[in-house]
């Protein structure tokens, strides 16, 4: 009997000191300021003072003593979301499971726990977008990014809510557009080839740099010829010569492959690109970017595809800007001097070709450290050094 009483008392004492849901916040908030967790909208576990639904009070593998990795942790309750968020174009933080880039996990003044100033929040990452324009689109100046963009994923490029033209026409009535496009040969369409949806230095949000033929005489291009890439290449002789390389982006695509990336009328800079370069590349090479994103180890500074790849044409593999050493050596100046020998005198016996950086590394990402093609402990070496 005495033993039973002792056992019951011990169990009671143990329960008392365990970080149970009802008690966890009481202990936590002894140290953590309660004001940090109060706002107009409070996350349910915080409101119920169940800190341990997300945090381990003693030790954890993840920052903030999270029980499991961010994203996975959120989806453990919000379990319908992964299936909704994996379709079409997925916003980077969503794809990487970094919910707290936009959402405050404890409390926020914004609905859905969105961090307080949504527009400012967007511009933290989208920092190449100017904060101010001489002429700004009203939703942009209001910071209402979500009037046009979806925050998680979309079937449209740029996470647009609908096609660009559909979005424009949802506010701008066709009658008013006709009035502003007196000499336009057809119903106004392809709005973004001339207009910047965020803002510009020109009235009507017309993009800053105009294609000279567009400025002077439409008939320069809109003549009798078919609007194939040949029309562009007639003037752009340098690009025409580039097309005489082994690999090129010259295709018939939608009638004129130049127009996949360039606007024939106006652009934000001299290149007259239809959007940020990486966004343009992704529009066709989605699988490549997906592979990069899902890789455990990848080249860290992959902000601009054009840093390593030729956009028009190349005589090298993957349309790189040089061979497998030249491209890397522009940044990694001394790498060849102290690592595994590379260059013309070092032959990969498997292929009979010179060893280069890409013989061992894949900068687009792999499952191995330093984006190596295999485990650096041994696996990689024995691909060539069989007796190692």
């Amino acid at each position: 009997m005495r033993a039973l009483v002792t056992l019951l008392l011990s169990l009671a004492a143990l329960l008392l000191f365990l970080p149970g849901p009802a008690r966890s916040a009481v202990v936590c908030l002894d140290c953590h300021d309660r004001n940090q967790f109060t706002n107009r909208v409070v996350h349910e576990p915080v409101r119920e003072e169940q800190c341990t639904r997300c945090h381990n009070p003693h030790v954890a593998r993840h920052d903030g003593l999270l029980m499991v990795r961010e994203g996975r942790l959120c989806y453990s309750c919000h379990d319908q979301l992964p299936n909704r968020f994996n379709r079409g174009h997925v916003h980077g933080p969503v794809a990487d499971g970094q919910c707290t880039v936009c959402h405050d996990p404890h409390a926020s003044a914004g609905a859905s726990l969105v961090n307080e100033d949504l527009a400012r929040n967007c511009l933290v990452c989208h920092d190449k977008l100017p904060l101010e324009f001489k002429y700004a689109h009203a939703p942009f100046s209001k910071g209402a990014c979500t009037e046009c963009h979806l925050p998680h994923n979309s079937e449209q490029q740029g996470l647009l809510k609908a096609t660009a033209d559909e979005l424009c026409l949802s506010c701008h009535q066709p009658e008013s557009l006709q009035a502003g496009h007196q000499n336009f040969p057809a119903d106004p369409a392809g709005c973004l080839t001339c207009h910047n949806p965020h803002g510009s230095d020109r009235p009507g949000l017309v993009r800053n740099v105009l294609h000279p033929p567009f400025e002077k005489d439409c008939a320069t291009c809109h003549g009798l010829k078919k609007m194939q890439a040949a029309v562009c290449l007639d003037c752009h002789q340098g690009v025409s010569e580039e097309m005489m390389r082994i690999h090129s982006h010259l295709t018939r695509q939608d009638g004129n492959s130049c127009l996949n990336c360039h606007s024939p009328h106006a652009g934000d800079d001299e290149r007259l690109l239809r959007g940020p370069l990486q966004q343009l590349c992704v529009s066709c090479h989605m699988d490549v970017i997906e592979g990069y994103r899902l890789s455990t180890y990848k080249h860290p500074a992959m902000q601009n595809c054009g840093d390593c790849h030729e956009p028009h044409a190349s005589n090298t593999l993957s349309m790189l800007k040089g061979d497998g050493i030249e491209v890397c050596a522009r940044c990694h100046e001394s790498q060849g001097a102290f690592s595994h020998p590379i260059g013309e005198d070092v032959i990969d016996e498997r292929t009979g070709q010179a060893m280069t950086c890409v013989t061992c590394h894949n900068p687009m990402g792999t499952e191995f450290a330093f984006h190596l093609l295999d485990d650096r402990g041994k696996g990689l070496c024995i691909l060539c050094h069989k007796n190692y």
Binding site: K226, Q228, A229, A230, M243, M244, R245, I246, S248, L250, T251, R252, Q253, D254, S257, C284, D287, V288, N315, T316, L317, S318, E344, I347, D348, R350, T351, G352, Q353, A354, T359, L383
Partner: protein, 340 residues
């Protein structure tokens, strides 16, 4: 017309064989060799202990299991590689293969070194030809019945004829419907040259005077075609972003369309096998997807890598007249030959 200055065969260099190894030496397949299952005894007396009999039975079971046909469970086995083994003279980005059935020779277009290498049917390097160093980024080639060699030169944007007897080279730009063509892939069939135009994505047939005769176009393809082959009096063309094959009768009418579906992500080249099976090279997956005559997916084989039988940047597939499947791999600078 350019005359290339040569003594007899001076620019058709007989290649030296690297010491200690025969070029084109046949190797074993990717799999273990088939094992002997003769079931013959090992000379021990029939009165051996039951334990020995059990062990022998176990050994027999282990050794006589079904022989694996390949690492990918496909019926294709690596047979040989067409490549240049000389140090610092390996091919750079070979882009295509032409096979001369009459001469039983392979010709590999070495675009990076501006030359063409010929090999015997057994894979032995025969000659290295550079037309007096006049070639500029050759990409594809065929030989016509009159003995002329026709080479697509990307660097000149030309279809270049090479007359070996006269040792002359004549680059010519192609036009059709008034528009300049950007030649890409090239085939020869029944006295006509078939050229894939990169600008339009159409295949245009020319007579040997380079007059356009016929056009094979895909109205509903986004980019036009990326590759084509002629097989069984049909022109088979591959639509890359659309993921489909368009089959034309030789008069230019479309007779069939086949969707490739999910097994391929970046179809880059196609070939039709002797039995009518369709082979699709996937450049991104570095494998080949096989479909039956009806377009039903059957299996895929090959994988990414640099070792024998592996692909880095495969660019073209083609069957030789002896039923072997040849894969030109730009990245690994060789043509891998597989047989069943």
């Amino acid at each position: 017309m350019l005359k290339y200055r040569t003594a007899r065969l001076s620019n058709i260099v007989r290649a030296r064989r690297p010491p200690g190894r025969a070029i084109g030496e046949r190797g074993r397949g990717l799999s273990a060799s088939p094992r002997s299952c003769s079931g013959k005894g090992d000379g021990r007396s029939p009165g051996a202990a039951p334990m020995m009999i059990f062990a022998a039975l176990l050994l027999l079971l282990l050794t006589c299991g079904p022989a694996r046909v390949s690492a990918d469970d496909s019926p294709w086995q690596w047979t040989m590689a067409l490549k240049q083994n000389l140090l610092k003279d390996s091919m750079i980005m070979p882009t295509s293969l032409y096979i001369d059935e009459e001469r039983e020779q392979y010709y590999v277009v070495d675009s990076g070194r501006n030359r063409i290498l010929s090999f015997t049917r057994d894979g032995e390097l025969l000659t290295i030809f550079n037309a007096g160093r006049s070639l500029d980024t050759p990409f594809d080639m065929v030989r016509s019945d009159d003995g002329l060699i026709w080479i697509v030169e990307k660097g000149r944007n030309s279809l270049t004829s090479v007359n070996l007897k006269e040792k002359s080279v004549q680059p010519m730009t192609l036009r059709s419907d008034g528009a300049l063509l950007y030649p890409d892939r090239l085939e020869y069939h029944d006295g006509l040259l078939y050229v894939l135009d990169k600008m339009t994505g159409d295949v245009v047939a020319f007579d040997l005077g380079l007059n356009p005769v016929r056009r094979y176009a895909c109205g509903d393809c986004i980019e036009g075609f990326i590759d084509f082959k002629i097989h069984g009096d049909r022109l088979w063309a591959l639509d890359n972003p659309g993921g489909k094959i368009v089959v034309f009768a030789m008069d230019g009418t479309v007779v069939e369309r086949m969707d490739l579906g999910d097994p391929v992500t970046y179809p880059y080249s196609l070939a039709v096998g002797p039995a009518g099976y369709i082979y699709i090279l996937d450049r991104q997956k570095r494998n080949i997807a096989v479909y039956d005559k009806n377009g039903t997916y059957k299996y895929s084989f090959l994988r990414y890598g640099f070792a024998r039988g592996e692909m880095y940047y495969p660019t073209e597939i083609r069957f030789d007249p002896w039923g072997r499947l040849c894969v030109t791999d730009e990245g690994n600078a060789r043509v891998e030959v597989f047989s069943r």
